[in-house]
Symmetry: C2
Subunit: 172 residues, 2 copies
DNA sequence: TATTGTTATACTCTATAACTATA
DNA sequence: TATAGTTATAGAGTATAACAATA
């Protein structure tokens, strides 16, 4: 457990990270903003999947996922085929054009990183990557974990009741 | 200089970081969203300053800064007094109510971090903080540095011509 | 009745451009 | 003519809620 001052510094860096994010966003093609890019890269990384799975990986509401997916499908970068096992569901799959788009995105972003991080060693880049991965995991875990199994010294404040990837349905 | 695969992994973590950011955003008071919180914490950290200085620290356009500042001023969390040295300028200063708001924000965010990062050591939190600070610095540096002094093997692609904190004026 | 996905609406953040007041 | 700040407008990301089709 770290001291409070550590947390305050970390929060400041989280906020400052927005500048990096915006800078990277500026080099994206105008027809492929960050939401579209995330959909493509996740499909490239994890292979074909359903909407609900993609929403989980994006960690956003399914409605948001639906919009992003509609955009990339409209550009011909993915296909949405009906799931034979469940007609409500749709399977998402990259098209060759989608793979080309990913290559282009990778090229642009890696070029910018190579430029900006030219004085970083391979190992330092790896360290940051690892710590950010663990950060994400730490947040994911607590979203999934049983709340009652955690330390009672840190009472949960206004935490939404186990949000998943969708708005809670109204049971009428 | 790191290998391309390293950059690709790092980019993935950048994208995934959005989940952390959104999670932290959810615990903010509804009348104090992240833009307002950033204004308050920067003023608390760096003391009184002009709009243009704040825009630089936020790394967003002055128009954006103006909106955020108007919001927090409307809530009485800061004061905008005219700069005696330059009547075009305004000096921003936290009010006692603004300081209270910062305390509340700090309390909430630190509580969430303490909960989520309960198994991180003080040192690990410090490492992540340091690496993110350096990341931000690396991006800042290249924004300021002379483009011609950088390696010619990485030609600058579509980079905006030394953007500052404002939309370039149209010289008629 | 519950789940998968879509759509409508609203809110926040951001950038561009035009405008005012001052330098 | 240039700079400090404001405002209008537009676009992207996101969440909530209501909806249709299927399980």
């Amino acid at each position: 457990m770290a001291e409070q001052a550590r947390y305050e510094e970390l929060i400041r860096q989280f906020s400052a990270f927005g500048a990096v994010r915006r800078e990277l966003g500026r080099i994206l093609p105008s027809d492929c903003p960050s939401g579209s890019a995330a959909v493509l890269t996740l499909l490239g990384r994890h292979g074909d999947m359903r909407m609900s799975k993609l929403a989980e990986l994006l960690a956003v509401d399914m409605s948001v996922t639906s919009r992003h997916v509609a955009h990339v499908a409209g550009r011909g970068w993915i296909e949405r085929s009906p799931d034979p096992a469940d007609k409500r569901s749709r399977i998402l799959r990259l098209t060759p054009a989608g793979r080309d788009r990913i290559d282009e995105l990778t090229r642009r972003t890696c070029q910018m990183l190579a430029e900006r991080l030219s004085d970083w060693t391979d190992d330092e880049v790896g360290q940051l990557t690892q710590l950010m991965a663990r950060l994400r995991a730490s947040f994911d875990d607590s979203r999934t974990a049983h709340p009652e199994s955690r330390t009672p010294t840190a009472p949960v404040l206004e935490r939404s009741p186990d949000r998943s990837t969708r708005t809670p349905a109204i049971t009428t």
